[in-house]
């Protein structure tokens, strides 16, 4: 097909115009918050919440209108380079973009509302809401763009706003360091993203997703060479490299091994930000990107994605086991769940991965906001009693079930959803994911036993760990005795107060979204979910892809379903029972928990320090880089600086010489001419001395000369 036909402008339609409105609303909110005077900040924050609410309503409307409809696509020419095909821009609203719009806008709205209470007395209130708007805008840009280039632009904007929000309390050294770390680690992934884009551009001369799909399906793989209809030829390996490159971008944003180190540190940001960005939306952007380019991935790239996803899921869950900071547990849990989603993409369970993205977005946002409520309540308690303690450290908590019953309810519901208990949303999506992974291993190993089974096995192991760390957290935070108060008996009269109504309302909405009934009529079987009914995995279009692969996956997924459910239920029971016996009120662990050190032995240190990845990076990257930098700095001081100094000395000498010549020769000449003119002046001046007699003498002398001249 001709490029002019592939990239032809497509007209604006009502849905795409509405998308543009949705995109504009948070941006306007950002500008308004930035321009508003500080005195009106409370009012303005409600105005911007209202903006996001409007956007959320429009996105729900759009979701209903695109349901079971073909995608709306609007495209226009952006610019062109020389004889290359047009660079286009536009909006692509398909079903998963519409779902993502709803998730982003709804959670963003809830976080806005929650923040009006949570951040009430914060000095950076205005800045905070402005950046929330900017973040929402950039996130929506990723969701709506029809072009990988524009996705990349918004991708970077999301990175920027995440950086700005993590460093909200920039006076804290740890916060500004965490922000820098998040930004830099994301750059590493983005470098891979750019490589992926470059390969696609070289082969297809366009980055428009719809056009890429057509061109990809028309390209051929033969004899180890990847040929496009334009006649561009690359080695077949580059097809895999392109997929892995795009995935590298997703690895950075979605905190996948080995780039997951930034996410736990990002918890330095305000808790609502952690809920919005580092649990529900931004980290899901990687998964969303993978879903957008799903059909462009080949089997090797998919296997790579699945492997990394499974490893990350397992590593994250292990790291969550021994954390003492309430938000860190959730952060590692997020890493683990994102690993699940990408594993889902990798094993071809596209629909299940997106399903998990959506259910996770709600229950994890709920968990984070509930954790935020706990922190908020404990801060108030700290303020009332005057006891100094870390309000995020679980060693200071315990027994909060009776003091914060509402928060406990919300926390409990979403934690059960995260663990994957039936009747909660997490059960459905995780079941779908694991069924898909299991079916994938069956397909890949062709009936026999093979290493591919490690992937679903890691997934099942993670189920045990998930149950274990969530039960641990629930028991340590909400059961037993309130440890910090027990240590300071003088304050027994001061009570921990429940959080404001606004925060409760937000938790209620999110808690309801964590229930299984919302997502499926039959809460025990994911295949009855309305959600999966609407989302069907698109057919993979990469050349050389086995056409039977996807149908066999679907078939086996259905066949394996009961088996997988039973296995994962067993795993949950194992994990939950272990958790109960280890951390139940009155157990040895909880008794000594208040005084417990961060780590007791090597294994715990491995988990607590997130597999020592930070230390490893220090050793492998930071140390050599610093060593090289120091070497270069010494080289510069000793060699380059010396050379420059020498050059300067030579210059000074030459300058002195020239100065001497200037003074003696040039100035001398000038002075001489001045002197000469002066003397002439003095001499001629005496002729006009005002003495009449000398005039006469000269006149006579002149006449005598004339006479002589005439006579001769």
């Amino acid at each position: 097909m001709e490029y002019s036909e592939l990239l032809r402008p497509l007209p604006w339609t009502t849905p795409t115009i509405l998308c543009l409105v949705i995109l504009a609303l948070p941006f306007v909110s950002f500008l308004l918050m930035a321009a508003a005077p500080d005195s009106s900040r409370r009012l303005m924050s409600w105005v911007s919440s209202a903006f996001i609410l409007i956007a959320a309503c429009i996105s729900v409307y759009l979701l209903l209108s695109v349901w079971a409809q073909p995608a709306s696509h609007t495209r226009f020419d952006w610019f062109s380079i020389a004889s290359m095909p047009q660079i286009t821009a536009g909006i692509l609203l398909d079903i998963n973009a519409a779902l993502m719009l709803v998730v982003v806008n709804v959670i963003s709205f809830l976080v806005h509302v929650y923040s009006t209470a949570y951040m009430k007395d914060d000095a950076g209130y205005k800045k905070y809401f402005a950046f929330l708007g900017l973040f929402t805008f950039s996130m929506l840009g990723i969701v709506l763009a029809d072009n990988l280039l524009i996705i990349f632009v918004f991708w970077e904007l999301v990175g920027l706003s995440s950086y700005l929000l993590i460093s909200h309390w920039y006076q804290k050294d740890s916060a500004s360091k965490a922000a820098k770390k998040a930004f830099i680690v994301n750059r590493v992934g983005d470098a891979g993203f750019l490589i992926g884009l470059a390969i696609l551009w070289v082969q297809f001369n366009t980055l428009d997703i719809e056009a890429l799909k057509v061109l990809m399906s028309q390209s051929t793989l033969a004899g180890g060479e990847w040929t496009t209809t334009l006649g561009y030829v690359l080695n077949a390996d580059w097809l895999t490299v392109a997929g892995i490159g795009l995935f590298l971008g997703a690895m950075g944003k979605s905190a996948q091994f080995p780039l997951q180190v930034w996410l736990p540190d990002a918890m330095e940001g305000p808790t609502p930000v952690s809920a919005l960005i580092h649990a529900a939306t931004m980290v899901a952007a990687g998964v969303f990107l993978m879903a957008r380019v799903f059909v462009l991935l080949d089997i090797d790239a998919l296997t790579f994605v699945a492997t990394i996803g499974a490893i990350t899921a397992f590593m994250g869950a292990i790291a969550a086991l021994t954390q003492h900071d309430i938000k860190k547990v959730l952060a590692y849990s997020t890493i683990s769940q994102l690993g699940y989603m990408l594993m889902g993409i990798g094993v071809g369970a596209y629909d299940a991965a997106l399903f998990h993205l959506f259910t996770h977005a709600f229950f994890k946002a709920c968990l984070f906001l509930a954790a935020g409520s706990v922190i908020y309540a404990l801060h108030e308690f700290e303020h009332d009693t005057g006891i100094k303690f870390d309000a995020q450290d679980m060693r200071n908590m315990g027994g909060l079930r009776k003091k914060l019953p509402f928060t406990f309810m919300a926390y409990g519901v979403s934690a059960l959803a995260l663990i994957g208990i039936p009747f909660f949303s997490g059960f459905l999506s995780k079941d779908a994911l694991l069924s898909g992974a299991y079916a994938w291993a069956d397909v890949m190993s062709g009936g026999g036993f093979s290493i591919y089974y490690l992937i679903p096995d890691l997934g099942f192991l993670t189920v045990i760990l998930t149950a274990l760390y969530m039960f641990r957290q629930l028991l340590l935070v909400f059961f037993g005795e309130f440890r910090i108060a027990a240590q300071h008996p003088g304050h027994s009269l001061t009570e921990v107060k429940e959080v404001p109504l606004v925060m409760k309302a937000v938790l209620t909405v999110l808690g309801i979204m964590s229930l299984g009934l919302i997502w499926s009529i039959n809460p025990l079987d994911h295949s009855h979910s309305w959600f999966l009914g609407a989302l069907k995995a698109p057919t993979i279009l990469t050349p050389g892809f086995d056409i039977d692969w996807q149908p066999r996956l679907i078939e086996l997924t259905l066949a394996n379903h009961i088996k997988v459910t039973v296995i994962s239920m067993t795993m949950i029971v194992i994990g939950a029972l272990t958790g109960w016996f280890l951390y139940k009120p009155g157990s040895a662990y909880t008794k000594g928990y208040f005084q417990r050190k961060n780590t007791v032995n090597k294994l715990q240190a491995l988990s607590y320090n997130n597999w020592h990845l930070d230390e490893a990076y220090k050793l492998i990257i930071e140390k050599p880089v610093l060593w090289i930098a120091n070497g270069l700095s010494a080289f510069e001081k000793r060699v380059i600086d010396k050379a420059i100094d020498g050059f300067a000395v030579i210059n000074v000498i030459i300058a002195h010489l020239i100065g001497w010549i200037d003074r003696m020769v040039v100035d001398g000449f000038v002075n001489f001419s001045v002197f000469f003119a002066g003397r002439i002046g003095v001499m001629t001046k005496s002729l006009q001395g005002g003495r009449v007699q000398s005039y006469i003498l000269i006149a006579v002398f002149g006449i005598v000369i004339m006479i002589f001249w005439i006579i001769w």
Partner: protein, 100 residues
């Protein structure tokens, strides 16, 4: 008497007048030098007129010169009087306002 003697006398008189004009400081003496030069010219006119017996042009010219000299002396003295009033001196070295 040969005509050359008159010329020599006239030349001597001219030189004396010239010397007086150039060297003397008093303006009145300088004016006297001017009179001497005029009379040196007169002697020349008279001497030349002996070669022209009929027309007597030279002698008339001498008479004119005497008249003009009288007028000039009157004007010159008046100027000197004015200068004296203004500068309180007739020393030409001190009257040097034209000095460049």
């Amino acid at each position: 008497m040969a005509i050359e003697h008159y010329f020599i006398l006239s030349a001597i008189l001219f030189c004396i007048g010239m010397a007086v004009i150039i060297t003397k400081k008093n303006a009145i003496v300088v004016l006297m030098g001017v009179e001497l030069i005029l009379n040196a010219a007169n002697i020349n006119f008279i001497a030349i007129s002996q070669l022209d017996n009929i027309k007597l042009g030279g002698q008339f010219f001498a008479l004119f010169v005497i008249v003009v000299a009288a007028a000039e002396a009157a004007v010159g003295l008046a100027i000197i009087l004015k200068i004296y009033k203004y500068f309180s001196t007739t020393n030409l070295d001190e009257i040097n306002q034209l000095k460049g």
